[in-house]
Protein backbone atom coordinates (compact mmCIF):
# COMPACT_ATOMS: atom_id res chain seq x y z
CA UNK A 1 0.00 0.00 0.00
CA UNK A 2 1.53 3.28 -1.12
CA UNK A 3 0.33 6.77 -0.16
CA UNK A 4 1.12 9.79 -2.34
CA UNK A 5 1.36 13.18 -0.66
CA UNK A 6 0.84 16.20 -2.90
CA UNK A 7 3.38 18.97 -2.40
CA UNK A 8 2.35 22.44 -3.56
CA UNK A 9 4.45 25.59 -3.25
CA UNK A 10 3.38 26.66 0.25
CA UNK A 11 2.51 23.21 1.62
CA UNK A 12 3.92 22.89 5.13
CA UNK A 13 2.45 19.69 6.58
CA UNK A 14 3.55 17.50 3.70
CA UNK A 15 6.47 15.97 5.59
CA UNK A 16 4.37 15.19 8.67
CA UNK A 17 1.74 13.61 6.39
CA UNK A 18 4.46 11.52 4.72
CA UNK A 19 5.86 10.37 8.07
CA UNK A 20 2.36 9.56 9.38
CA UNK A 21 1.55 7.55 6.24
CA UNK A 22 4.88 5.70 6.54
CA UNK A 23 3.75 4.39 9.91
CA UNK A 24 1.08 2.32 8.18
CA UNK A 25 2.51 1.80 4.68
CA UNK A 26 4.81 3.19 2.03
CA UNK A 27 4.63 6.84 1.07
CA UNK A 28 6.02 9.14 -1.59
CA UNK A 29 5.80 12.85 -2.44
CA UNK A 30 3.85 13.96 -5.52
CA UNK A 31 4.87 17.27 -7.14
CA UNK A 32 2.13 19.81 -7.91
CA UNK A 33 3.35 20.41 -11.47
CA UNK A 34 3.57 16.69 -12.28
CA UNK A 35 0.69 15.07 -14.17
CA UNK A 36 1.50 11.67 -12.74
CA UNK A 37 0.43 9.98 -9.51
CA UNK A 38 3.21 7.38 -9.88
CA UNK A 39 0.88 4.46 -9.21
CA UNK A 40 0.01 5.33 -5.61
CA UNK A 41 -2.96 3.60 -3.95
CA UNK A 42 -4.20 6.66 -2.05
CA UNK A 43 -3.62 10.41 -2.23
CA UNK A 44 -3.22 12.87 0.64
CA UNK A 45 -3.60 16.61 0.01
CA UNK A 46 -1.81 18.07 3.04
CA UNK A 47 -2.08 21.25 5.05
CA UNK A 48 -0.30 24.51 4.45
CA UNK A 49 -0.79 27.59 2.31
CA UNK A 50 -0.85 26.22 -1.22
CA UNK A 51 0.20 28.88 -3.75
CA UNK A 52 0.16 31.31 -0.83
CA UNK A 53 -3.62 30.93 -0.58
CA UNK A 54 -3.81 34.11 -2.65
CA UNK A 55 -7.35 35.21 -3.55
CA UNK A 56 -9.09 32.53 -1.41
CA UNK A 57 -7.86 29.49 0.48
CA UNK A 58 -7.35 26.63 -1.96
CA UNK A 59 -8.62 28.61 -4.95
CA UNK A 60 -5.48 28.54 -7.07
CA UNK A 61 -4.11 25.16 -6.01
CA UNK A 62 -7.12 23.43 -7.54
CA UNK A 63 -5.78 24.39 -10.98
CA UNK A 64 -2.41 22.70 -10.39
CA UNK A 65 -1.63 20.04 -13.03
CA UNK A 66 -1.52 17.27 -10.41
CA UNK A 67 -5.08 18.11 -9.32
CA UNK A 68 -6.44 16.96 -12.71
CA UNK A 69 -4.90 13.57 -11.98
CA UNK A 70 -6.23 13.60 -8.42
CA UNK A 71 -9.74 14.36 -9.74
CA UNK A 72 -9.49 11.50 -12.25
CA UNK A 73 -8.17 9.17 -9.52
CA UNK A 74 -11.13 10.16 -7.32
CA UNK A 75 -13.61 9.58 -10.17
CA UNK A 76 -12.24 6.05 -10.50
CA UNK A 77 -12.88 5.45 -6.80
CA UNK A 78 -9.35 6.07 -5.44
CA UNK A 79 -9.07 7.21 -1.82
CA UNK A 80 -8.28 10.91 -1.41
CA UNK A 81 -7.73 12.52 1.99
CA UNK A 82 -7.60 16.32 2.33
CA UNK A 83 -6.27 17.75 5.59
CA UNK A 84 -6.85 21.42 6.53
CA UNK A 85 -5.64 23.34 3.46
CA UNK A 86 -6.06 20.07 1.55
CA UNK A 87 -9.72 20.03 2.63
CA UNK A 88 -10.07 23.62 1.39
CA UNK A 89 -8.47 22.67 -1.94
CA UNK A 90 -10.80 19.66 -2.40
CA UNK A 91 -13.84 21.87 -1.68
CA UNK A 92 -12.68 24.50 -4.18
CA UNK A 93 -12.08 21.74 -6.73
CA UNK A 94 -15.66 20.52 -6.27
CA UNK A 95 -14.47 17.09 -5.09
CA UNK A 96 -16.09 17.75 -1.71
CA UNK A 97 -19.29 19.66 -0.86
CA UNK A 98 -19.27 23.01 0.95
CA UNK A 99 -16.63 25.64 1.63
CA UNK A 100 -14.40 26.86 4.45
CA UNK A 101 -14.85 30.41 5.76
CA UNK A 102 -12.80 32.48 8.24
CA UNK A 103 -13.18 31.41 11.87
CA UNK A 104 -15.92 33.37 13.64
CA UNK A 105 -13.28 34.74 16.04
CA UNK A 106 -11.21 35.88 13.00
CA UNK A 107 -8.24 34.46 14.92
CA UNK A 108 -5.76 31.73 14.18
CA UNK A 109 -6.57 28.83 16.53
CA UNK A 110 -4.07 26.13 17.48
CA UNK A 111 -5.18 23.58 20.04
CA UNK A 112 -6.17 20.00 20.70
CA UNK A 113 -9.87 19.20 20.05
CA UNK A 114 -12.09 16.21 20.72
CA UNK A 115 -13.84 14.78 17.69
CA UNK A 116 -16.87 12.52 17.61
CA UNK A 117 -16.74 9.87 14.89
CA UNK A 118 -20.22 10.11 13.37
CA UNK A 119 -19.80 7.04 11.17
CA UNK A 120 -17.29 4.35 12.04
CA UNK A 121 -17.72 2.01 9.08
CA UNK A 122 -16.29 4.20 6.31
CA UNK A 123 -13.05 3.97 4.33
CA UNK A 124 -11.54 6.69 6.53
CA UNK A 125 -12.90 5.75 9.98
CA UNK A 126 -13.18 1.96 10.02
CA UNK A 127 -10.11 1.58 12.26
CA UNK A 128 -11.49 4.02 14.86
CA UNK A 129 -12.60 2.49 18.13
CA UNK A 130 -16.43 2.69 18.22
CA UNK A 131 -17.82 5.31 20.58
CA UNK A 132 -14.44 6.74 21.51
CA UNK A 133 -13.74 10.36 20.54
CA UNK A 134 -10.47 11.27 18.81
CA UNK A 135 -8.09 13.82 20.30
CA UNK A 136 -6.46 15.63 17.38
CA UNK A 137 -5.06 19.17 17.02
CA UNK A 138 -6.43 21.93 14.84
CA UNK A 139 -4.43 24.93 13.60
CA UNK A 140 -6.17 27.23 11.19
CA UNK A 141 -7.67 30.66 10.54
CA UNK A 142 -10.13 29.58 7.85
CA UNK A 143 -11.85 26.48 9.16
CA UNK A 144 -15.52 27.38 9.52
CA UNK A 145 -17.29 24.70 7.47
CA UNK A 146 -20.20 26.12 5.54
CA UNK A 147 -22.91 24.64 3.35
CA UNK A 148 -26.45 25.90 2.82
CA UNK A 149 -29.18 24.48 5.08
CA UNK A 150 -30.69 22.28 2.32
CA UNK A 151 -27.21 21.04 1.40
CA UNK A 152 -26.46 20.26 5.06
CA UNK A 153 -29.69 18.28 5.33
CA UNK A 154 -28.74 16.35 2.20
CA UNK A 155 -25.23 15.66 3.55
CA UNK A 156 -26.59 14.32 6.82
CA UNK A 157 -29.20 12.17 5.08
CA UNK A 158 -26.55 10.70 2.79
CA UNK A 159 -24.24 10.01 5.76
CA UNK A 160 -21.48 12.27 4.47
CA UNK A 161 -20.69 13.92 7.82
CA UNK A 162 -17.96 11.69 9.29
CA UNK A 163 -16.51 13.84 12.08
CA UNK A 164 -17.97 16.49 14.38
CA UNK A 165 -16.36 18.63 17.06
CA UNK A 166 -17.47 17.19 20.41
CA UNK A 167 -20.41 19.05 22.02
CA UNK A 168 -19.33 22.50 23.23
CA UNK A 169 -15.96 22.28 21.45
CA UNK A 170 -16.75 23.83 18.07
CA UNK A 171 -13.68 26.03 17.71
CA UNK A 172 -14.49 28.01 14.59
CA UNK A 173 -18.26 28.29 14.11
CA UNK A 174 -18.60 25.41 11.65
CA UNK A 175 -22.21 24.73 10.74
CA UNK A 176 -23.61 21.77 12.71
CA UNK A 177 -20.19 21.29 14.39
CA UNK A 178 -18.88 19.62 11.24
CA UNK A 179 -15.16 18.81 11.31
CA UNK A 180 -14.97 16.41 8.36
CA UNK A 181 -17.12 15.40 5.37
CA UNK A 182 -16.83 12.91 2.54
CA UNK A 183 -18.19 12.93 -1.00
CA UNK A 184 -21.31 11.00 -1.97
CA UNK A 185 -19.31 7.97 -3.08
CA UNK A 186 -17.36 7.92 0.20
CA UNK A 187 -13.88 7.80 -1.34
CA UNK A 188 -12.91 11.47 -0.87
CA UNK A 189 -12.69 12.84 2.67
CA UNK A 190 -11.67 16.21 4.04
CA UNK A 191 -11.17 17.41 7.61
CA UNK A 192 -9.83 20.53 9.30
CA UNK A 193 -8.08 18.76 12.23
CA UNK A 194 -4.61 17.34 11.60
CA UNK A 195 -4.45 13.55 12.14
CA UNK A 196 -0.84 13.58 10.85
CA UNK A 197 0.16 15.62 13.92
CA UNK A 198 -1.36 13.02 16.27
CA UNK A 199 0.48 9.79 15.49
CA UNK A 200 2.66 9.38 18.57
CA UNK A 201 1.69 9.56 22.24
CA UNK A 202 5.01 11.37 22.80
CA UNK A 203 3.39 14.48 21.30
CA UNK A 204 0.09 14.10 23.14
CA UNK A 205 -2.05 11.70 21.14
CA UNK A 206 -1.80 8.90 18.59
CA UNK A 207 -5.50 9.04 17.69
CA UNK A 208 -4.79 10.42 14.21
CA UNK A 209 -3.21 7.12 13.17
CA UNK A 210 -6.64 5.50 12.96
CA UNK A 211 -7.48 7.62 9.90
CA UNK A 212 -4.39 6.33 8.05
CA UNK A 213 -4.97 2.79 9.32
CA UNK A 214 -8.55 2.93 8.01
CA UNK A 215 -7.28 3.91 4.56
CA UNK A 216 -4.74 1.09 4.59
CA UNK A 217 -7.41 -1.42 5.60
CA UNK A 218 -9.71 -0.15 2.85
CA UNK A 219 -7.03 -0.35 0.15
CA UNK A 220 -5.94 -3.75 1.51
CA UNK A 221 -9.45 -5.08 0.86
CA UNK A 222 -9.25 -3.96 -2.75
CA UNK A 223 -5.64 -4.78 -3.55
CA UNK A 224 -4.18 -7.97 -2.02
CA UNK A 225 -0.85 -7.14 -0.34
Amino acid sequence: MKFGIVRFPGSCDDVDALLAAERVGEATMLWHADRDLHGVDAVIVPGGFSYGDYLRVGAIARFAPVMEEVAEFAREGGLVLGICNGFQVLCEAGLLPGALLPNISLRFICRQVELDVVRGETSFTRACEPGRPLSIPIKHTTGRYYASEPDLDALETAGQVLLRYAPGQNPNGSTRDIAGVCNRAGNVFGLMPHPEHAVDSLTGSADGLSIFESMRAQVGDRIPA
Binding site: L55, R56, A59, I60, F63, E92, G98, A99, L101, P102, N103, I104, S105, L106, Y146, A147, S148, G173
Partner: protein
Protein backbone atom coordinates in the same frame (compact mmCIF):
# COMPACT_ATOMS: atom_id res chain seq x y z
CA UNK B 1 -11.90 46.72 -21.58
CA UNK B 2 -11.22 47.86 -18.03
CA UNK B 3 -13.52 46.20 -15.54
CA UNK B 4 -14.08 46.03 -11.83
CA UNK B 5 -15.29 42.84 -10.21
CA UNK B 6 -16.95 43.20 -6.82
CA UNK B 7 -17.05 40.01 -4.75
CA UNK B 8 -19.13 39.95 -1.59
CA UNK B 9 -20.29 37.32 0.90
CA UNK B 10 -23.70 35.91 0.00
CA UNK B 11 -26.65 37.31 1.90
CA UNK B 12 -27.32 35.31 5.04
CA UNK B 13 -23.75 34.05 5.48
CA UNK B 14 -22.23 35.23 8.74
CA UNK B 15 -19.59 37.88 7.99
CA UNK B 16 -17.45 38.32 11.13
CA UNK B 17 -15.16 40.82 9.39
CA UNK B 18 -18.11 43.11 8.66
CA UNK B 19 -19.37 42.65 12.22
CA UNK B 20 -15.98 43.53 13.71
CA UNK B 21 -15.86 46.76 11.72
CA UNK B 22 -19.48 47.59 12.58
CA UNK B 23 -18.75 47.11 16.29
CA UNK B 24 -15.66 49.32 16.12
CA UNK B 25 -17.43 52.33 14.61
CA UNK B 26 -19.40 53.60 17.66
CA UNK B 27 -16.18 53.79 19.67
CA UNK B 28 -14.89 56.24 17.07
CA UNK B 29 -18.02 58.37 17.32
CA UNK B 30 -19.74 57.06 14.17
CA UNK B 31 -23.22 56.01 15.15
CA UNK B 32 -26.06 54.78 12.97
CA UNK B 33 -23.97 52.51 10.74
CA UNK B 34 -25.50 49.10 10.06
CA UNK B 35 -25.17 46.04 7.83
CA UNK B 36 -21.44 46.34 7.19
CA UNK B 37 -20.15 43.65 4.84
CA UNK B 38 -16.63 43.22 3.61
CA UNK B 39 -15.80 41.83 0.20
CA UNK B 40 -13.10 42.14 -2.40
CA UNK B 41 -12.52 44.49 -5.33
CA UNK B 42 -10.64 43.15 -8.34
CA UNK B 43 -9.65 45.49 -11.18
CA UNK B 44 -8.58 44.07 -14.50
CA UNK B 45 -8.13 44.71 -18.21
CA UNK B 46 -9.72 42.09 -20.41
CA UNK B 47 -9.53 41.69 -24.20
CA UNK B 48 -12.83 39.85 -24.48
CA UNK B 49 -15.47 40.91 -21.91
CA UNK B 50 -17.43 37.77 -22.75
CA UNK B 51 -14.86 35.89 -20.66
CA UNK B 52 -15.70 37.83 -17.53
CA UNK B 53 -18.62 35.79 -16.14
CA UNK B 54 -16.77 32.49 -16.59
CA UNK B 55 -13.64 33.89 -15.00
CA UNK B 56 -15.67 35.20 -12.06
CA UNK B 57 -17.40 31.87 -11.49
CA UNK B 58 -14.32 29.67 -11.92
CA UNK B 59 -11.74 31.66 -10.02
CA UNK B 60 -12.49 35.17 -8.77
CA UNK B 61 -15.45 34.09 -6.64
CA UNK B 62 -16.70 30.89 -5.06
CA UNK B 63 -20.39 30.86 -6.09
CA UNK B 64 -21.26 28.76 -3.05
CA UNK B 65 -20.38 31.51 -0.60
CA UNK B 66 -19.96 34.68 -2.66
CA UNK B 67 -21.84 36.85 -5.16
CA UNK B 68 -20.00 38.80 -7.82
CA UNK B 69 -20.85 41.90 -9.80
CA UNK B 70 -19.07 43.08 -12.94
CA UNK B 71 -18.76 46.84 -13.44
CA UNK B 72 -17.34 48.21 -16.70
CA UNK B 73 -15.12 51.17 -15.95
CA UNK B 74 -13.90 52.17 -19.43
Amino acid sequence: MRARVLVRPKAGILDPQGQAVERALPALGFSGVRNVHIGRLIELDVDDPAHLPGLCEKLLSNPLIEDYEIVETA
